[in-house]
């Protein structure tokens, strides 16, 4: 096993990877930018190296500086986390050239899965179902029109080099096509420096369900079942669960999806951890969407339900050990839910809310797992993704896991910045969510119909009392008078006297 590993990342995932490294008695090397000197991953690491100014293009995305740091500190391997360089084939290749193990798939596998059209072709060749679509980059709207004649509207235009919803346009009829094509191409050009588009039949209100895989360097690969990731906002997952309520209710579906995912990954010569994403329609038919060639943000719920540490398995297979687990060793117990807690304001269109955390109370107790990177007094930098923590819970059934998550969210208190904690509570209380009727438009539709979250009437007056009490305490402190608890009424009297 490795003796020292560098984590080419920041935030909660750097902390999460370090936790396993520490349990395995492997030394940890953090890298950090100017904005992250005081961040938890630096505080936690055994060693740390500055890699540049705050913008990630000058620090966390600098392959040369990350490799210099690894060499300087004598790290034998690099864990890329997710985001940043994790799906960068050049980085994986540069690690191999430098004689440092990249904890992930080969540069070749990343490259083959990185192009969406190439990945589709691979899935087709592997006999896996794909959404009907054009498999070559489109030359123009005329080509889309011919496709529409065959498969009908609605369609989805997507960027070949894309991801995260950029360069994506829905087209409902012929008349919209030219403008949609133009917009999608220019957005793709701006976002990915490639205007190439492809077209797919749009599956209305699909579920997003993905399969977790892990393979060793000796050709052995297994799956760890599915995660339901249909709760998304602007094409970003915000809440995930394992198992999927749909898959759990359909005998054989997990096995069928797992087999398809393994076939696709094998055709790319894949090893290490990866995730194959599927769209699932109302009938339960699933279609290959894309493969993520890294550890996923939402991996903890799979760990909670299967009982395996995916980061540990990543490390073991990366250093060449054979994967000892067989498919029949993997079982799924109970139910897990994860909420991505972001520094954003759900009362103000989910605007990012960076700033200083003035108070932090974390949920504790049975069945709670919190993967975070924040502490009281820390300032959330404006430079990166505003993910503060992933709160995951486990319980015996989906219903109990939802109840536990609601309980945990009630205990969770973050002050100084806005978070989406209350938003999760509203979704978890929603009847449609509880019934498991999920799809990728769920959050949009929920926000449209969101019932007023009306507080019990007595809370308004309690809030007023507390506000006045709080204000008075502040005034008392400001006046340097004894900070005795005094009521607003006494304050009134005193203020009148002062005048």
């Amino acid at each position: 096993m490795f003796r020292k590993v560098l984590i080419a990342n920041r935030g909660e995932i750097a902390v999460r990877v370090m936790r396993t490294l520490r349990e395995m008695d492997i030394a940890t090397v953090a890298v950090y930018s100017d904005a992250d000197r005081a961040s938890l991953h630096v505080r936690m690491a055994d060693e740390a190296e500055w890699v540049g100014p705050s913008p990630s293009s000058e620090s966390y995305l600098r392959i040369d500086r990350i490799l210099d740091a690894a060499r300087k500190h004598g790290a034998e391997a690099i864990h890329p986390g997710y985001g940043f360089l994790s799906e960068n084939a050049d980085f994986a290749g540069a690690c191999a050239d430098a004689g440092i193990v990249f904890i992930g798939p080969s540069a070749d596998s990343i490259r083959r899965m990185g192009s969406k059209t190439a990945a589709r072709q691979m899935a087709l060749a592997a006999g896996a179902p794909v959404v009907p679509g054009a498999h070559e980059p489109l030359r123009g709207p005329a080509e889309v029109r011919r496709f529409a004649e065959q498969y009908g509207y609605p369609l989805l235009l997507k960027a070949v080099a894309g991801g995260g919803g950029k360069g994506m346009r829905r087209v409902d009829e012929n008349g919209e096509l030219d403008a949609a094509f133009r917009d999608a191409a220019s957005e793709a050009e701006r976002s990915f420096k490639s205007a190439e588009l492809y077209v797919e039949k749009l599956i209305e209100r699909p579920r997003h369900i993905e399969i977790q895989l892990l393979g060793d360097l000796h050709g052995h690969m297994i799956h760890f079942g599915e995660r339901e990731c249909s709760i998304q906002r602007r094409h970003q997952k915000v809440m995930e669960e394992c198992p999927s309520p749909l898959v759990a209710a359909r005998p054989g579906m997990r096995e069928a999806m797992g087999d398809a995912a393994i076939r696709i990954a094998r055709s790319a010569g894949y090893h290490n951890a990866g995730t194959v994403e599927f769209l699932v329609d109302a009938r339960g038919d699933f279609y290959f969407l894309e493969m993520n060639t890294r550890l996923q943000v939402e991996h903890p719920i799979t760990e909670l339900v299967t009982g395996h540490d995916l980061v540990r398995l990543q490390l073991e297979v990366a250093c060449g050990e054979p994967l000892r687990l067989r498919q029949e060793d993997i079982s799924w117990r109970g139910s897990a839910v994860e909420c991505r807690v972001y520094a954003e304001d759900p009362y103000n269109n989910f605007f990012p809310s960076p700033g200083k955390l003035t108070r932090l109370t974390r949920p504790l107790g049975p069945g709670i797992r919190l993967d975070g990177c924040v502490y009281e007094g820390w300032t959330v930098p404006i430079d990166y993704d505003p993910l503060l923590a992933k709160l995951a819970v486990w319980s015996g059934t989906r219903e109990d896991a939802i109840a536990r998550m609601l309980r945990a969210l009630r205990e969770y208190d973050v002050a100084g910045i806005h978070t989406n904690i209350t938003f999760f509570r509203q979704i978890l209380e929603d009847a449609e969510f509880r019934a498991g009727r999920l799809h990728t438009r769920f959050v949009d539709e929920f926000l449209e119909r969101r019932p007023q979250f009306t507080p019990p009437p007595e809370l308004q007056s309690i809030a007023e009392m507390v506000a006045a009490f709080h204000h008075q305490r502040g005034a008392a402190r400001a006046d340097a008078s004894p900070p005795a608890a005094r009521s607003r009424w006494l304050a009134m009297g005193r203020d009148e006297v002062l005048r």
């Binding site: 007595e458 009490f469 009521s487 006494l490 009134m492 005048r499």
Partner: protein
């Protein structure tokens, strides 16, 4: 409007208050935001505007001048005693009525010298924050 006579507030952590009211326990978390106080109780968000007489006098000039002035309840409570009657002349700072909240009795005073033209408060009545109790002219 609930009576608040039994309410008890304890500051437990910076910005966190424990409230006991009629045998029920509430936890309120407070954040300040330009002049108003945001209170979170059990995931519900309340924005409470603070009417601070001192601040008003600093920014808006002394309120002891011309015209009518309202005496309003700065927070919910219960009127326990009236000290003046409608039509009485009062001096600045003279007690008008006593309101009880959070187990404490508090005297509302005249903001200026003048005459009590309206006394809306009734003994024993529960009042809401911002409710006008008296008008001095």
């Amino acid at each position: 409007m609930k009576e608040n006579n039994g309410a008890e507030i304890v500051a437990v952590e910076p910005g966190v208050y424990s409230v006991l009211l009629e045998g029920r326990s509430y936890e309120a978390r407070v954040e300040e935001s330009n002049g108003s106080v945001i209170v979170f109780i059990d995931g519900h968000r309340f924005e409470v505007e603070i009417r601070d007489p001192r601040r008003r006098s600093r920014h808006g000039g002394p309120p002891g001048g011309e015209g009518r002035l309202n005496v309003a309840a700065p927070m919910p409570g219960k009127v326990v005693r009236l000290l003046v009657a409608e039509g009485d002349s009062v001096t600045a700072g003279q007690g008008l009525l006593v309101v009880e909240a959070m187990k404490m009795q508090n005297e509302m005073k005249a903001p200026k010298a003048g005459r009590v033209v309206t006394l809306a408060a009734r003994q024993g009545a529960t009042v809401a924050a911002g409710e006008v109790l008296a008008v001095i002219e």
